[in-house]
């Protein structure tokens, strides 16, 4: 019997998103994505490249909050302009961003709720999402999966989805690659004929119906949907004893 928490299962599912990336900059925003991305680097994706969150590459993996600790080996200089020049626009990055809204084709919004000219709620803004999604692989993390987040149509498109990328034509969309979405209920991808979202796995103790009820659009899924895998003993140990000894991810996903 595993005593893994939902957040730990999500962290492993996030790590899995970065499994085949090789020598790529792993950028993960949010507490659980940070733990998940670093877990991948500590286990099956050792070549992942990461920063200390400021202006330098971190060549050893720090725990949450330990980015500037004395044990972290600093590598190349990575100020914001080199981040654009050397990483984003050379396509050598996989970012996991949050989504306040996401639709069936992976259009993401964390800019604002309501019309852009006078929003009901100003959120983060577009930030780098338009450039990220058109230049390199992107995944999303949603800690609160509801029909208000998984919506038929997002209010504002900050991250570009598959339908909009297709309209841009092959040349412009050749680096566009929305890889996966990990929520507190399951794991999703876009590997369907029309690149609409598909349920890949449900987390233990979550039913397919529960996911469908909390999704505001028609979600593709197989007849039998597997369960998201549990953390291995090594992964549990790395999460609990090294990456996140305070268990902060369990506050982000409290189940």
């Amino acid at each position: 019997m595993s005593d893994a928490t939902r957040a730990e299962i999500c962290a492993v599912a996030i790590a899995e998103c970065f499994r085949d990336d090789g020598e790529t900059l792993m950028s993960a925003f949010g507490t659980t994505p940070t733990v998940g991305g670093r877990l991948a680097k500590l286990t099956f994706s050792p070549d992942l490249f990461m920063t200390d969150g400021t202006a330098t590459a971190a060549e050893t993996v720090p725990p949450l909050g330990g980015e500037h600790g004395p044990d972290v080996v600093k590598g190349a200089w990575m100020p914001f302009r080199l981040f654009f020049d050397n990483v984003v626009w050379t396509t050598r990055r996989h970012a996991m961003m949050m989504a306040s809204q996401i639709d069936r084709f992976g259009n993401q919004n964390f800019a604002c709720i309501g019309p852009h000219e006078k929003p009901k709620a100003q959120l983060l803004g577009m930030r780098g999402a338009p450039g990220n999604t058109i230049y390199h692989r992107t995944s999303y993390f949603v800690p609160n999966h509801t029909a208000k987040v998984f919506v038929e149509k997002v209010d504002v498109v900050s991250g570009v989805g598959y339908d909009r990328a297709a309209e841009l034509g092959e040349a412009t969309s050749r680096y566009h690659d929305i890889h996966r979405v990990v929520s507190n209920l399951g794991v999703f991808d876009f590997e369907t004929p029309d690149h609409s979202m598909r349920l890949v796995s449900v987390h233990p103790d979550v039913s397919v119906d529960q996911v469908l009820e909390n999704t505001g659009f028609e979600l593709a899924h197989d007849q039998v949907v597997p369960e998201t895998r549990l953390p291995s003993d090594e992964e549990s140990h790395l999460i609990r004893d090294f990456l996140d000894p305070k268990g902060l991810i369990n506050k982000e996903i409290p189940v």
Binding site: Q122, M126, P130, G131
Partner: protein, 281 residues
């Protein structure tokens, strides 16, 4: 040439409706003493171009902004700038929101005196619909790719803050990141640089390598010595962000009485009185 000047002289040069670029990034190394001087002035209808932090929050709160051209507005440790958020939700100014990288490209086009630079970032997103005046260009080569023609962001004035400067306008950053301060200077007609401390030219390399003198005197028209001039944003290694002060500033967004008190204590005073009030907390 001795280019020393003061915040007051710089702001006296500014006019209503000007386009002003502000260096730094979020709540990091912002020319806040210059921003505070703008708050004290009668200036209005400004177009502000920046990677925004509390500079934007304050200018919006004071109703100085007609149009904002920005990659984001954040206080870093407080992800959403609450005063900016309030102003956006009130629809108080025109929001020319860009992808972070597009802003760099617009500044670069202006710096290189080009009308535009082609950019892929932004295509497919609503950056296009919120900037309806942006046009596209088609690659003349075989790929035929259609890209955004990011227009040059030509600035009337650039304001930046550095750790060290000399009187002739060479400037040095001692923190980890130069941000885009050089591009703001290149994109502007008039360029003003505040600094923590004015030093002799031969002393730059006592504190940092030659690579840290990123601003040369061709890029600067006026130098202001402003110790604490970036407060409450960070200006490492001279000082970190004043998180307690920033929290206090942020908390005034929802409380008109607290805002009135904050304004009276910190903003309706001279820069010297501001610095004194900060120290005496």
């Amino acid at each position: 040439m001795d280019k020393r000047t003061t915040e007051r002289e710089v702001v006296a040069e500014l006019k209503d409706g000007m386009t002003i670029g502000i260096g730094g990034w979020g709540s990091r190394r912002k020319p806040m003493s210059l921003v505070r001087e703008i708050l004290r002035s009668d200036l209005k209808d400004l177009t502000i171009v920046t990677y925004g932090g509390p500079d934007v929050g304050l200018l919006c709160k004071y109703g100085k902004v007609k149009k904002l051209i920005y990659g984001f507005v954040s206080l870093d440790s407080i992800p959403l700038e609450p005063h900016f958020r309030q102003a956006r939700q009130a629809g108080g100014f025109q929001a020319g929101e860009l992808d972070e990288g597009m802003l760099q490209w617009g500044l670069r086009a202006a710096a290189h005196k080009l009308p535009f630079l082609p950019v892929r970032a932004g295509l497919g997103s609503d950056v296009v619909s919120v900037n309806p005046d942006f046009k596209t260009v088609r690659s003349p080569y075989q790929d035929g790719e259609e890209l955004i023609a990011m227009p040059a962001l030509e600035l009337d004035v650039a304001l930046i803050h550095m750790n060290r400067a000399d009187v002739s306008g060479n400037g040095q950053f001692l923190g980890p990141d130069p941000y885009f301060d050089d591009l703001f200077c290149h994109a502007a007609k008039r360029r003003f640089m505040s600094c923590e401390k004015i030093v002799e030219t031969q002393d730059f390399q006592k504190e940092g390598s030659v690579h840290t003198v990123s601003i040369n005197r061709l890029m600067v028209d006026g130098v202001i010595e402003a110790p604490g001039g970036a407060h409450f944003t960070e200006c490492t290694p001279d000082y970190g962000r004043d998180e307690a002060f920033q929290k206090e500033y942020a908390s005034t967004a929802k409380d008109p009485d607290a805002w009135a008190a904050f304004k009276k204590r910190y903003l309706e005073v001279s820069e010297a009185e501001y610095q004194e009030a900060v120290k005496s907390r």
